[in-house]
């Protein structure tokens, strides 16, 4: 065989190479550049941009505010994600059967997801406002006296407020995905199980769940990643306060980069986040069986 006998052997690589080059340029160059920056001393306020070695990375381990922000992020994920999943699933079940006005209700329920999170956060901030917001007024009607609950100030109320907004906005996303998945489950299987005496839970556990699991797992993964990056709603509601009590990793990264102007340190945080997410997502994909 000679090379001329297979003129297409390398040609296919030439064909895809521009696209690959472009992807590398767009995707990898900024990443590589950030990595370089993370080993330097760049801040927007100093002229020193010398090589810093591992200084920024060792600083990460001493930075209690960073680990606090990761904990806050994990806390929000741990509460919001299961609630969104369960509520979304329950709503999907509710709307699985045909009913009058179903399409209209589904459209209305999905509305929160199309609102920009920063707008949603600002709206909820107004709703929670002690002076002008209706929430405290409504609570006051039930309580029979004014309820001056400071939802964005009181340490006992800030997390419930944030998680509530997050769930309000993103449960419909879970609902839509799971409704689509449930709609594709073979009804004859669940009906057969029902005839054989299987109760709802057994039928769900052994027939419905395996059928919808690939879709559900993807939905969990998407929402989990979204929650890890949560920024807008919290920024609009509390800006990470009181103190740093609701500061998530995204907010902390933003503050370091664009309030404190610590460019190199921010790059180091970004790499820590990339490493953490890579490990967690890889583990989750394997654990959920999505790799198959």
């Amino acid at each position: 065989m000679t090379a001329t006998a297979h003129p297409d052997r390398n040609f296919k690589y030439w064909l895809v190479s521009p696209a690959i080059f472009l992807l590398l340029l767009i995707g990898l160059f900024p990443l590589a550049f950030s990595l370089v920056v993370s080993f330097m001393r760049i801040t927007m306020l100093e002229t020193d941009t010398s090589f810093a070695g591992l200084v920024n990375f060792t600083q990460l381990f001493k930075d209690s505010r960073l680990w606090g922000s990761l904990f806050h992020t994990a806390l929000i994920i741990a509460i919001a994600l299961p609630v969104e999943l369960v509520l979304g699933l329950a709503m999907a079940y509710l709307f699985l059967d045909k009913m009058p006005g179903r399409q209209l209700f589904v459209s209305l329920l999905v509305l929160p997801t199309i609102i920009s999170p920063i707008v949603a956060g600002a709206t909820w901030r107004l709703l929670f406002d002690n002076r002008y917001g209706p929430i405290n007024q409504i609570l006051g009607w039930f309580a029979g006296h004014p309820v001056p609950a400071l939802w964005t100030v009181n340490p006992n109320l800030v997390y419930p407020a944030i998680v509530f907004c997050e769930i309000w906005q993103w449960t419909p996303f879970m609902f839509l995905i799971l409704l689509a998945a449930l709609s594709n489950v073979d009804r004859s299987l669940t009906e057969a199980a029902e005839i054989d005496g299987a109760r709802f839970w057994r039928s769900f556990r052994f027939i419905v769940l395996p059928a919808i699991w690939p879709v559900m797992a993807i939905a969990i993964l998407i929402r989990g990643l979204d929650l890890f990056r949560i920024f807008d709603i919290i920024w609009a509601l509390t800006e990470g306060g009181p103190g740093t009590m609701t500061e998530t990793i995204s907010i902390y990264t933003f503050v370091q980069g664009f309030r404190q102007f610590e460019t190199s340190y921010t790059a180091a945080i970004a790499f820590l986040v990339i490493v953490l997410l890579t490990v967690i997502v890889t583990w989750a994909i394997r654990r959920m069986g999505l790799a198959k």
């Binding site: 927007m44 306020l45 002229t47 406002d129 002690n130 002076r131 004014p146 001056p148 400071l150 964005t152 100030v153 009181n154 340490p155 306060g241 009181p242 103190g243 740093t244 009590m245 503050v255 664009f258 309030r259 404190q260 102007f261």
Partner: protein, 482 residues
Amino acid sequence: MVNRRDIGKIGLAAGFAATATRPAWAESAADVAVKAAQQYKGQTITIVWEAGLQSLDPTHFSGPKWKELTGMDVKVIEVATADMFTKIMQDYKSGAGAYDALNVIPAWMPDLAQAGALEVLDPYVEKYGYAAELQTIAPTYRDNQMKVDGKIYGFPDDGDVFLMYYRRDLFEDAAVQKAFKDKTGKDLAVPKTWAEFDVVGAGLTDVLKDKGIYGAAFFRQPPYTMFMFEERFRNEGGKFFDAASMKATINSDIGVRVFTDMRNENKFMPPGVEQWGFVENLAAFLQGQTAMTISWPPYGRWAEGYGTDQEALNWVPKTTIAGKVGYALPPGGHPELAAGFALSVASTSKNKDAAYLFIQWLNSEAISLERVKLPFTLRDPFRAAHYTDPGYLALWPNAKNYLAALKLASETGLLDLSLLQTDKYEEVLRQAISKLWAGDDPKAILDTAAGEWDAITQKIGVDKQKAVYTSWASKSGAYPKL
């Protein structure tokens, strides 16, 4: 009611009046700027301005007027206050040269000057003959908010200062005075110290709460309270740092007492005051729900209904207290010269002379007088002539007292803390305040904050920061003479 056209007329009259007092051969700084700028006809200057009401000045008034006089266009980049520093630095670092002129908060000036983002203005001042008119800027602003290391980097352009606004009608009401005396055993008077303020505020709440009026309320959101803490802490004798070691001393007994008192005072203020910002506090005062408050000068104008019939101010609640407001220095007698703005030229500007001429014209005696009387742009008097201008004095019946209080405040006012990387220190303070409202222990909060300040100082370099602090602390408005 005075409208914008009237203000223009008043301003022009004032301009003519100012010109008339000069020798025939002398040109005003505004005239010089206009003449020199005419060679740049057809060109555009880009200026960074605070978003919102402030930017109505260049978009509705000064920009069109400059275009009319010189043929130059003014492009206004509106930026939220919190992002102004970042945007300016980003533009400078990238070398894009997107901005020609800048609005700069004076406390940022050392950082921006050290970074090289600001053009030194001394040569331009000399070239365009502005030195004499610079001297008529009120001394506090001129001497403290214009230079870094002896060089001019910006023209003070906004007399921001806190004043206490109080309900004169309530303080003069015999029934209220009697009820107050019965409750507290003391005569009702406008408080001059924070100890008096606590008595008066709590007493008035007791007396007036049934009528829906609280003794006092402040904006309590951390970015505003930060200024109030800086003011009160120094009025009570506090120092930010130990001058020798540069160790933070905000966690001193004075700091802890101020923090503790601030939180205790919320008890006689309206419920939920911890959430209040500029607008909530303004609304409560204008609606007659609070007897005392402290804020920037626009509160005083709007409380009298000045300009609030204009479209730009249609969000300001209709005042119910016009003619009933008194003006005083906040307790302690040394109000915060909170924030403010100076006009600068970006060092990366491709048209520095034109940018300079625009800011000289804006800042000049004649034009600045017009601008501080615009009801919607939040620029406040900052020149000696602004406080005594007959046109301003006639804007509402009590304007004389308002301007007198502003003048006094400018003379006794305290500068915002201004160091290298000031915002990092301020960020710590803002977080400390939000923890205070959340109920944390004041001493623990301030110990943590002081530790964080020390860490920032260490990172910047103790000696480097000490030099900047020493320079700042030596200014007349840094610490009050108690």
